[in-house]
């Protein structure tokens, strides 16, 4: 008795295959990609009566014609040696359609087990199956299942155990298409067997005979099969004489005829089919007038759901990482390996933490998408939006990912997997970075209030987003009419009936995407954080333009509190006992305590003390920040900025803006914090008013606008680039995309800046 088996799970799209897969394997599944194509591969395992079973979830297909990457993958997987059994899932509410694939799977001569899924729905619809008769037609045992129900796969497990036990004499299915057709198939099969080629095992000669008889392009290209071409042509001519049906659809026609006969014989309808609820919902959902508003409402609700639920969780994650940072800093004394300490805290923890903060967003977004997908709404959305998107060279299914791009480009690019046409998918991915994502918002929030009057601020913000959308659509149009030219592929999309998504499948879907995001944070983001930390730190400057340290020390000496001052402070009770103790020791009021204390609450002598301490503190702070700025200018980041300055002057950037923009290529949020350090404001965030004052003093509104434009049009972050590489499965494409976006951003900004300078638009300093 063997102990391990490989079972392939095959079926049409939307036949409930995934729910069967989830029910059998639980969460023990492995998701990956088939090499060379963007078809997701999924496998899982479970133990049945001590037998270890590996279940391979093949992509959903209607046939084995090799007319799509999915069909190609299914054929390759099934003809690989080592598949012990095909588990074919049938949507039993539409048996005639679902069994079409079964007729082709049967030709592979692999033992097969049919799962008539959704049997509860079929019963409601009034369908009655004569199972023994059907088993005879298809030469395979049949089990009725309800994949989405907890105990719905029990009968399947029983039958599966039985099948695996008697696998040797399980028998293989053999279908009959009528005498003349069977004769023709046999004649060609014999010729192929006579060739004795062993590219594929002998089992498949009947399969290839049928493929040749229906002029299948892929089968006709196989050189080993060329010698039988004349026999094939003779048989085709003979069949044409009898049936008068073109070869390419001949077998399809025969299969449907055979299925129609089988279904008439073995399936009965007890009552007239009533108009299903699903169709009623669609009267509203795909209604000519309501469909678009409804679609926008649903998309809006998806965003609302994502951001409302994720917001508090993001706060917790942020708190956790700042706590972790503090903890490491307090445990690890600054004296031992100080560089490694800062690299871990300010580099790794801040960098990776800054990315993990978005994890709740990703999870909720994909939960919402899974609902739309599993319920069947996504196909309707694509149907409704197709007309508009087609005008820009895209298609209906491109719309949702593009809108998601406003949130974050990374999940948006992952969401393009629903686009079946490879070319449309590629174009959608390539133009997605133009959709202004949330990470660019801090830049706009910093710049717009600095350079634009309040009444124009909303307009400028809106303008930036609109520019992004227009550029994306124009670029799609351009790409489709140049690099990705060609007749559109045949568009065929099933609109499956609405179904209630199961909680389990939603959770699994969400976790799949979440896991990918975590992997990304653990690899690319981690590496980039370390790299940028190093670039911002080295080489370290040792000789400064002024001796900051001793100057700071001098102020500290001069402004130190004398005994009288300390006594005065203690008596006033202005400070907590703990802080008071520290003040006595340092002879200086800690800056955190100074920020909190309100001098109006105290008598004049104490006020004088606080004020002078505060002034001294600020002075020391300024010196420290100047030192930091000098340090940064000396580092690789600073030098790169300096070196690029002549180039960036075309788009109105000085070396500081250039350095920050280069840093922002890693992640757009970096721009604000980098610029903050350069302008010696320390930990700047978008609301820091002094940084804005610096900007107003040093740049014109035109330059401010150029900064935003450049941020909008260049690559949003390394993570986006990484995900583009993975989804397009090409380093070359990802690299080209990054370069093209950079050049485009640079040229557009240069044109705007140069024209603006020429016509003196926004070139006056505001202060």
């Amino acid at each position: 008795m063997r102990e391990s088996f490989r079972i392939a799970l095959a079926g049409n799209p939307n036949c409930g295959k995934t729910s069967i897969f989830n029910a059998l394997t639980g969460a023990r599944q492995h998701v990956g990609n088939y090499p060379g194509v963007t078809v997701e591969s999924k496998s899982g395992s479970f133990v049945l009566n001590g037998m270890k079973i590996e279940l391979i979830d093949l992509p959903g297909v209607y046939s084995l014609s090799s007319s799509s990457p999915e069909e190609e993958v299914v054929f390759q997987e099934l003809t690989k040696p080592g598949i012990d059994l095909i588990l074919n899932v049938i949507d039993s509410t539409i048996p005639q359609r679902s069994l079409y694939l079964t007729t082709q799977l049967a030709e592979l001569h692999i033992p097969m087990l049919l799962a008539f899924n959704m049997s509860d729905d079929a019963r409601k619809k009034g369908l009655k199956f004569n199972i023994p008769k059907l088993e005879k037609y298809f030469g395979s045992p049949i089990v009725q299942t309800i994949g989405c129900r907890e105990n719905g796969v029990r009968p399947l497990l029983h039958r599966l155990a039985k099948s695996l036990h008697e696998l040797e004499d399980h028998g293989v299915p053999m279908l009959s298409y009528g005498n003349d057709v069977d004769d023709a198939i046999r004649a060609v099969t014999e010729k192929i067997d006579a060739l004795d080629q062993n590219k594929y095992s002998r089992h498949y000669s009947r399969f290839f005979a049928i493929k040749l008889l229906e002029h299948d392009a892929a089968a006709m290209r196989i050189p080993e099969l060329k010698p039988v071409a004349s026999e094939v042509e003779a048989q085709i001519r003979h069949l044409w004489d009898v049936h008068a049906i073109e070869a390419d659809t001949f077998m399809a026609d025969r299969r449907y005829a055979m299925l129609a006969g089988a279904c008439r014989d073995a399936i009965s309808m007890s009552h007239e089919r009533r108009r299903e609820i699903s169709d009623k919902i669609d009267l509203v959902m795909t209604n000519r007038f309501f469909s678009l508003p409804l679609f926008f409402l649903i998309i809006y609700f998806t965003f609302w759901f994502t951001f409302t639920l994720a917001d508090p969780l993001m706060g917790y994650i942020e708190d956790f990482f700042s706590w972790l940072n503090e903890m490491v800093k307090s445990v690890w004394s600054p004296e031992t390996l100080p560089l490694l300490r800062t690299m871990l805290t300010d580099g790794v923890i801040s960098g990776v933490g800054g990315v993990l903060v978005f994890l709740p967003n990703i999870l909720f977004l994909f939960f919402a998408i899974a609902i739309l997908e599993d319920s069947g709404y996504m196909a309707r959305a694509a149907f409704v939006m197709d007309g508009i998107m087609r005008k820009f060279g895209l298609q209906g299914r491109s719309f949702v990912p593009l809108v998601l791009g406003f949130g974050c480009n990374v999940p948006a690019i992952m969401a393009t997997r629903t686009i079946e046409s490879e070319r449309d998918r590629t174009v959608t991915i390539l133009v997605l970075p133009f959709m202004s994502c949330g990470a660019r918002l801090p830049i706009y929030a910093l710049i717009i209030p600095a350079f634009f009057a309040p009444k124009y601020q909303a307009f400028v913000m809106w303008l930036i987003y609109v520019i992004g959308v227009l550029v994306a659509l124009a670029a799609a149009r351009l790409l489709k009419s140049t690099l990705f030219k060609g007749e559109g592929e045949v568009y065929l999309m099933e609109l499956p009936p609405y179904r209630m998504p199961t909680f389990k499948s939603l959770m699994l879907h969400m976790w799949d995407r979440g896991k990918m995001y975590l992997q990304k944070a653990g690899t690319i983001i981690l590496a980039a954080s370390i790299l940028f930390f190093l670039c911002n730190t080295f080489p370290r400057k040792t000789a400064f333009s002024q001796d900051y340290d001793s100057e700071i020390e001098k102020i500290r000496q001069e402004k130190a509190l004398d005994d009288a001052g300390i006594e005065l402070l203690r008596q006033s009770g202005a400070l907590d006992p703990e802080i008071m103790a520290k003040t006595e020791e340092d002879r200086f009021i800690p800056s955190e305590a100074l920020e909190e204390c309100r001098e109006e609450d105290f008598p004049e002598p104490v006020r004088v003390l606080i004020r002078s301490s505060r002034a001294a503190g600020e002075e020391m702070d300024q010196l420290e920040k100047k030192k930091q700025a000098e340090l940064l200018e000396y580092t690789i980041s600073g030098r790169v900025g300096r070196a690029l300055e002549p180039l960036f002057r075309f788009i109105g950037f000085d070396w500081k803006l250039a350095t920050a923009s280069i840093g922002a290529l890693a992640a757009k949020e970096v721009f604000v914090s980098q610029l903050g350090i350069l302008y010696a404001e320390g930990d700047a965030d978008e609301t820091s008013v002094p940084l804005r004052e610096h900007l107003m003093k040093n740049y014109t509104p035109l330059q401010g606008f150029c900064v935003m434009l450049f941020a909008l049009l260049s690559i949003p972050c390394l993570a986006t680039l990484a995900v583009i590489r993975r989804e397009l499965n090409s380093w070359k494409m990802a690299a080209l995309e990054a370069v093209a976006l950079f050049l485009f951003a640079f040229l557009s900004t240069a044109i705007v800046y140069q024209l603006g300078t020429l016509f003196r638009i926004g070139t006056r300093f505001l202060s």
């Binding site: 669609d282 009267l283 409704v384 045949v490 999309m493 499956p496």
Partner: protein, 102 residues
Amino acid sequence: MAGVKCSCGCSGKGKNPEYTVNASGVTTLADLPVGAKATISKIMPKARGRKKFADVGLVAGAELEMEAHAPFGGLLRVKVLDTSMAIHSEDAANIVIEKEED
């Protein structure tokens, strides 16, 4: 026009009547109004995607029903073998049909 059921929501009162007359004088799936049923009599031999159509049940002899037209044109929603399929009108123009009178 009372009694005309139309899933596009216009309840039968479209703007202006639109006629498409095919040069070859045959009726194709692209001409089938919403709500009407028909039988495929033939798929043009040169039509692209013949095999793909065949795989989802669009073969000569198949019965179908036009369920809806997408807004802004382009896609048609056709019910065949008890399943709704969205198909482009350009491709539908290659599917010759015989309208069912009822």
